[in-house]
């Protein structure tokens, strides 16, 4: 079957679905949706449909992005736009479905927005302030089509990038990607086309293409979401990359903690093989490519290219010095190109729509878009995709909807645990590889953790160092031991035992770890410490010189006091105190026995009169 045949068949199927008589119920059922209760919602809806003898097609889809709206369910009646409903419970979902399908009441009061058309009284979904500023290229299909059905992807112009690439020379494909300005989305930002060129020029056979899906940053879920929601965009990207560099063998290195993504990939690969989009003589051309999935055991360091290669080879995931670079001597000593999931998912769009189109997004040397996992003390958390160059402030205040509880934006950690902590005063920074690096942080793979004034940056640095230390592979002493000593010092400071000299030691260690470590893990591990020391030195000083934690987080440095003038003597705190160290007669001001207090904060939490103060 030719590609045109494949495409036509898929389009027919898609049209039959969309233009048929049967209503469609789309349910966001990626891991995030399932965790929020999409499974229960789906079951409840299915049962209700059966009970009421309603015929409707239920399609589990991936994630459209806004986690804060999960579980999400869309209803698409014949001839009507798709209407999204958010934050559903099973009961609410049944209520909406029955109302719309049996009484033709789309319940605008409960609707979030429409997709693909207008409906009076319901706004358009993509007009939501969270979604409106976003530009969806990598995530173009996420949440909109069935990730388990290759025809949905084909109908959405899927594999047209590949079809076009196969008509070009490999070098022309590389030129196109170079011209697009696409840079590695795994974090380093190396121009993808250039990386491909190195691999293409390398001698050795076979050549390998590896998709790095070892998303290891805590709080990062861009890759998982992409693979669960639109696996074919990544797989098509792999095919184009393989064709461009001359690779015949491929691996997807994915952490085994992503079972749904792995299942989707396996299903997608099987469908590709059926469609002759994988294997020998792809689409009847001379291009052949074979693909295997390699499940990683969840070591953060295996995201590093040389460690990832070692892991695929069955060795302990430990990095090796470069050169030699994987492009020349990678997997099994052969030329190997490794690209991140998001990088690859951009590639089909570039080939389908052209380099100029892609390069029209973004700014300067930062073309295109970047996805982020926006989390922390933010109102609207979720997966977002914005053009590079978007200011941090827009992400935080507009797309993120500002700080929770009307709090104050204090800082944002970009780039995951290896990234840096940038203060609110830098919120004007455009999100670009260079600007973030200049500020002491990194783009990383796309973690954005937003902090409010109740976050202690020393504690934050301690948290990230705990992670990097435990994930250090142990090969080189600066990383293995240096991060441990750093962590010890941070723990000491948080425990109120810090000395002013400790800050010098941290600087010393940071220098040696950055300069001396073998791989990116070690070289970037001190970033949270370095940036917090740089931007929040006062807060460290408060800890080591004044014995005070200004954010009120480090328990050894804080006291809970009951303000006599505010305490009504309601006795609530007294009842809640696990240590029973609060005393006071009813309707008389209470006091805390500081010698027995464990600083659990229960009194603070339960007081309705703001009579408990942290000092």
């Amino acid at each position: 079957m030719t590609f045109t045949d494949l495409q036509q068949q898929a389009r027919k199927k898609w049209q039959a679905l969309k233009q048929g008589d049967t209503p469609i119920i789309w349910i966001g059922a990626a891991t995030c949706g399932l965790a929020a209760g999409a499974g229960e919602v789906m079951e409840a809806v299915r049962a209700a449909l059966e009970e009421h003898h309603i015929v409707a097609t239920i399609i589990p889809v991936g994630c459209i992005g806004p986690c804060f709206l999960e579980p999400l369910l869309d209803i698409e009646k014949p001839g009507a736009p798709r209407i999204s409903y958010a934050q559903l419970t099973p009961e609410k979902a049944v209520e909406v479905v029955l109302a719309y399908l049996t009484q033709n009441d789309p319940r605008p009061d409960l609707a979030l927005g429409t997709l693909g058309g207008e409906m009076p009284g319901i706004p358009r979904l993509f007009d939501h302030p969270n979604l409106k500023p976003q530009v969806r290229i990598a995530t173009r299909n996420c949440g909109l089509l069935n990730p388990d059905d290759i025809d949905h992807y084909l109908a959405a112009e899927g594999y047209t990038g590949l079809a076009r690439a196969l008509t070009m020379t490999p070098d022309a494909v590389i030129d196109e990607v170079l011209a697009s300005g696409l840079r590695g989305r795994g974090g380093a930002g190396f121009p993808t086309g250039q990386k491909w060129r190195f691999a293409r020029q390398a001698t050795g056979s076979p050549k390998y293409l590896v998709c790095n899906a070892d998303e290891g940053d805590p709080g990062a879920f861009m890759d998982r979401s992409l693979l669960e929601s639109d696996p074919h965009s990544v797989l098509e990207g792999m095919l184009i990359a393989a064709y461009a560099i001359g690779a015949t063998e491929g691996y997807i290195y994915i952490r085994s903690e992503y079972p749904l993504a792995i299942e989707r990939l396996r299903g997608a690969i099987a469908q590709m093989e059926q469609c002759r989009l994988l294997g020998d003589y792809i689409l009847g051309t001379d291009f052949s490519f074979h693909l295997q999935i390699k499940e990683g055991a969840g070591a953060f360091v295996c995201g590093e290219e040389t460690a990832l290669i070692a892991s695929i080879e069955g060795k302990r995931g430990m990095p090796n010095p470069r050169p030699p670079f994987p492009a020349n001597a990678g997997l099994w000593g052969k030329p190997t190109n490794i690209n991140n999931v998001e990088t690859l998912s951009n590639v089909p769009a570039i080939l389908a729509k052209g380099a100029d189109w892609y390069a029209s997004h973004g700014s300067g040397k930062n073309k295109g878009t970047k996805t982020f996992s926006l989390t922390g003390k933010i109102n609207w958390s979720g997966l977002i995709e914005v053009p590079l160059g978007t200011p941090l402030s827009e992400v935080i205040y507009t797309i993120g909807g500002g700080i929770v509880d009307n709090g104050t934006f204090k800082a944002v950690q970009t780039g995951g645990p290896s990234g840096g902590c940038l203060p609110a005063s830098l919120d004007y920074l455009p999100i670009e590889y260079e600007s973030l690096a200049a500020a002491g942080s990194i783009m990383g793979s796309g973690g954005l953790v937003v902090l409010d004034e109740k976050t202690c940056v020393v504690d934050l640095a301690r948290y990230f160092l705990t992670f990097t230390q435990s994930e250090s592979c142990g090969k080189c002493p600066p990383c293995r031991l240096g991060t441990k000593q750093m962590l010890t010092i941070l723990e000491r400071i948080c425990a109120g035992q810090g000395q002013p000299e400790d800050l010098d030691l941290l600087e010393e260690l940071a220098f040696a770890i950055k300069a001396g470590s073998l791989c990116g893990l070690g070289q970037t591990a001190p970033n949270p410490v370095v940036t917090t020391l740089r931007y929040f030195h006062d807060e460290y000083d408060a800890h080591v010189r004044e014995g005070r934690c200004p954010a009120g987080v480090c328990t050894a440095l804080i006291h809970y006091l009951i303000l006599e003038d505010k305490c009504t003597g309601c006795q609530r705190c007294k009842r809640e105190c696990p240590q029973q160290c609060i005393s006071g007669e009813k309707k008389n001001p209470h006091t805390i026995d500081q010698s027995a207090c464990i600083k659990c904060g229960a009194c603070f939490e339960v007081c309705k009169f703001a009579a408990v103060e942290v000092v």
Partner: protein, 903 residues
């Protein structure tokens, strides 16, 4: 080696100094060659660069950040800076971090003064450590009797792990856990003993600190080059001595065989030399009791008694552990003084079928290729050789080669190499001819043979093809138990993956059809043209350190040294002239025949040099009975071995470490020993003892000042050794015979141009499969096979080494779990094992690498002498007994005897 032009290829500067190097060199290597010090801890010249310790960081102009000099290849015009404030600061903190966790017990550490961490700390001038230790004291691994692992001293440089993984191909140790908790350990955190560790100690050699340290280690004051005596591989060793005692053994990096490697026995087995149980004085048996005697008393007695048994009443057993010179003297003595060709050596029990079989096929009985050829082979077919245990250092080469080459293993047991193999053929013991002929048939049928080679170099292809007819796959499968697909696969892999090496050992030879087995192997090599080329050939893995030499030196009843046959008139004449005595042109008796003839009253006097005859020959009870029948038995050995009780006179011999001389290894390499210590007590070199007996019998031609003079005589009288001398061996290292004149470089590979047969053509043997002499039956339902284990070497020597006895203290009978279950036998239970010839009690050892119905034992323990069970059925050609196939029964002990046996 780099040539001058290579070195001049690339010009760069290091610290402003212009230096030159070759493209393959790293910055570190070039710096070292120019005496520019760059500190390192994880770097070891025998291991691949690791870039882990971060101390060799340098600044290279144009490169981002600091770069590890150990991993960076030089480039033209490179500007390298090895010292800068940034480098200094990074190195100091890195060292401080390591030292913070390192116990400061330097003065009481085995590595004191040899510690590389000390050296780097001193270089950097570390005078203060600003960090606390990051970890609690961890327990030591003291499970190994020879060395300890102290994780507290470990700096995680990875040298031990890389040694075990990359150099040994074993991977018994690796890095466990992550972060600051990272630790070198075994799979599942087992103690070393209990893991797959082979105790070779190569990790200890490469530890830069005292984390892996030999126990009771004393630094030697002197090193002497020598050759290991624990198998036929011939590894080079440096014997470390102090005060006349051996205190350590290290691998000789200059050895062309072992390149510095040693196994557990080679490195740690030396303690037998200084064992208090060594024989230190001659003993004469009077009234059934040994009494100490002077050399004069003993030698005069032996000389006068031997005079009574001149001619064919006398037989000599020469030692395959003695030197070439000593073996030469024993056969010369036997032939020239005693007037008989009754001289043999223990090759009769092992590789005589090799000499016979390969002589027929190729014209020469020696292994065709050097050990170094293993690495270059694309296919290695190992049959009847448990190489990693019996020849560990060569076994490592096979294991390493298997990482890239195709490995086929044929063995009834799933030996360790089988786990590294692409194909394992689990044949029934004794069915080798059927298997190999079956493979040959597939090769011919599928046209995978090498017609050009056969046309040019092989004589009887058509006749051979006729002989393949009976070996159809169904028949071969039925005889061997090997699935037909595997037979076909083996044929295809071996025939089409070139160059291919065939390696075998006693699993092939110790059968009543051992010579046929050897020829069946040679057939495959001839068919496929896999002989006479680099990494293509047939390698018999010879067991004793000088069993090749004992054979080469004429210690066989049918030939003088260099395989000059006694039956040829010109040889008779040559040696009558050379030795000044009449020579016999009739073939003498073989070793096993001595005992048959003793029982018949025909052999009356026996001279045994360095062989435990009473325990090493099949059907030991029968042999011991024969020994008792003899009139006069002289035993010459380093220990009062089990056989000595049958002797009338015992003569104390010097060990290998106490004398000079040469050994010839399994690749025909003649290597020189040097005395490391004087002989213990009153012991004397074997050649001296034999010469003294001869002289006291009035013989001429035994007045040698030293062993070198004997070698000179050998060279004079042996065409294939004509170019050898101690001076040359000392200067050049080992030389592989044939070496026909002083300028001849030796012969790494045999049969390059033509075979040594009368026609110059190779001979394909049209073999007929004959079953083993004994098969399991109702009464004796199990098939017992025997072999060597990693930690032991026959009987007397390793049993004197406490550590080896700790690793493997006693004999066990290995059984399949189903059989044990059926008999109600528990693992570790004492059982009775019996054959038609004898029985013994031994502990049951239930293992998972045997076929049901099979049992397996070593032969390393006097307490359970396995050879009372084995069968004296002989190979008709080589007269080698069938050690490998014995029908036995295994019984639970009765309650009373079981109680007695309980430990």
């Amino acid at each position: 080696m780099l040539t001058d032009t290579d070195i001049k290829t690339i010009v760069l500067t290091i610290d402003g100094i212009a230096v030159t190097g070759s493209p393959e060199e790293t910055v570190l290597q070039v710096a070292r060659r120019h005496d520019i010090y760059i500190p390192t801890l994880c770097y070891h010249e025998e291991l691949a660069p690791y870039g882990g310790c971060r101390l060799c960081l340098v600044d290279i102009k144009g490169m981002r950040g600091l770069t590890t000099s150990c991993t960076t290849k030089i480039a033209p015009g490179m500007e390298v800076v090895t010292e800068s404030p940034e480098i200094e600061r990074t190195r100091r903190i890195t060292m401080e971090l390591m030292l913070a966790d390192h116990p400061m017990e330097c003065l009481i550490c085995a590595q004191n003064e040899h510690c590389e961490l000390q050296k780097v700390a001193a270089y950097l001038g570390i005078d203060n450590i600003r960090f606390p230790a990051t970890r609690e004291r961890l327990p030591l691994d003291t499970s190994n009797p020879f060395f300890i692992f102290d994780p507290n001293k470990c700096i995680l440089c990875g040298r031990c792990v890389r040694t075990c993984v990359d150099r040994q191909g074993l991977g018994a140790i690796g890095l466990n856990a992550r972060g600051a908790a990272t630790i070198v350990g075994t799979a599942r955190d087992l103690p070393l003993v209990g893991s797959s560790c082979e105790s070779c100690g190569e990790c200890v050699v490469r530890c830069p600190v005292g984390a892996r340290a030999n126990r009771d280690y004393l630094h030697p004051t002197r090193y002497t080059k020598s050759v290991c005596t624990f198998c036929g591989t011939g590894c080079g060793m440096l014997i470390g001595t102090r005060g006349g005692k051996i205190v350590a053994v290290e691998g000789d990096p200059d050895s062309r065989v072992s390149h510095g490697n040693l196994c557990v026995k080679g490195r740690y087995g030396f303690k037998f030399v200084n064992s208090p149980k060594r024989l230190t004085t001659p003993l004469i048996k009077r009234n059934g009791v040994f009494e100490e005697a002077t050399w004069d008393e003993a030698l005069d007695l032996v000389a006068s008694k031997f005079k009574e048994y001149l001619g064919d009443q006398f037989a000599a057993v020469s030692s395959s552990r003695g030197t070439n010179e000593e073996n030469y003297i024993v056969q010369k003595f036997t032939r020239a003084v005693m007037g008989t060709n009754n001289v043999d050596n223990c090759a009769r029990l092992c590789h005589s079928p090799t000499v016979a079989g390969l002589s027929k096929a190729f014209g020469t009985g020696g292994g065709t290729n050097p050990v170094d050829d293993i690495a270059g082979a694309e296919c290695i077919f190992v049959i009847g050789s448990n190489t990693t245990e019996a020849h560990p250092v060569a076994g490592v080469q096979v294991r390493k080669a298997a990482e890239h080459a195709t490995l086929i293993v044929a063995d009834p047991r799933e030996i360790e190499l089988a786990q590294h193999a692409d194909l394992w053929l689990p044949l029934r013991p004794g069915t080798d001819v059927a298997l190999l002929m079956g493979i040959a048939r597939v090769i011919v049928e599928e046209g995978l043979h090498d017609p050009e080679f056969i046309a040019a170099r092989v004589g009887n292809f058509d006749e051979f093809v006729q002989a393949l007819a009976p070996y159809d796959l169904a028949t071969v499968e039925q005889i061997t138990g090997v699935p037909r697909e595997s037979i076909v696969k083996a044929a295809r892999l071996y025939a089409s993956t070139k160059p291919a090496l065939l390696m075998y050992s006693l699993g092939i030879t110790e059968h009543s059809h051992g010579s046929d087995n050897v020829q069946a192997i040679a057939n495959l090599a001839l068919l496929t043209g896999n002989v006479g080329k680099p990494s293509a050939g047939v390698m018999p893995m010879r067991g004793q350190n000088n069993v090749q030499g004992a054979c080469d030196m004429g210690c066989g009843p049918n030939y003088y040294q260099g395989y000059q046959y006694v039956t040829q008139p010109e040889n008779k004449l040559k040696f009558e002239q050379a030795w000044g005595a009449p020579m016999r042109d009739d073939i003498g008796l073989t070793l096993v025949e001595y005992f048959e003839q003793a029982l018949a009253g025909k052999i009356k006097a026996l001279y045994v040099v360095g062989m435990d005859v009473a325990y090493s020959i099949a059907d030991a009870n029968h042999i011991q009975e024969a020994l008792r029948r003899m009139d006069f038995v002289v035993f010459q050995d380093i220990f009062l071995s089990g056989s000595a009780e049958f002797a009338d006179v015992v003569l104390p011999a010097a060990s290998f470490a106490e004398k000079d001389g040469t050994f010839t290894n399994l690749e025909r390499r003649v290597q020189l020993l040097h005395p490391a210590i004087p002989p213990v007590g009153d012991a004397k070199p074997d050649w001296w003892i034999t010469c003294e007996i001869a002289k006291r019998m009035g013989a001429q031609g035994f007045d040698y000042a030293n062993a070198a003079e004997i070698m000179d005589e050998i060279a004079r009288l042996t065409p294939s050794f004509a170019g050898l001398s101690f001076a040359r061996l000392d200067a050049e290292g080992g030389i592989q015979w044939p070496c026909t004149d002083p300028d001849h470089p030796g012969t790494p590979r045999l049969h390059v141009e033509k075979f040594n047969t009368p026609t110059g053509l190779g001979h394909l043997a049209p073999l007929v499969y004959r079953p083993s002499a004994e098969s399991p039956d109702e009464e004796y339902p199990f098939l017992l096979s025997t072999g060597r284990s990693l930690n032991h070497f026959h009987l007397a020597m390793t049993s004197k080494v406490t550590g080896l006895m700790e690793l493997e203290p006693e004999e066990t009978v290995r059984m399949h779990p189903d059989d044990a279950d059926h008999l109600g036998i528990e693992h570790g239970e004492m059982v009775k094992v019996s054959s038609r010839r004898g029985s013994l009690e031994v502990r049951a050892n239930i293992v998972d690498n045997l076929q049901p119905g099979m049992a397996w034992m070593t032969f390393h323990f006097y307490e359970s002498p396995t050879n009372v069970l084995t069968n004296l059925a002989l190979d008709p050609v080589s007269k080698t007994p069938e050690f490998k196939v014995t029908a036995i029964k295994i019984e639970k002990l009765t309650n009373a005897s079981a109680k007695k046996a309980k430990r």
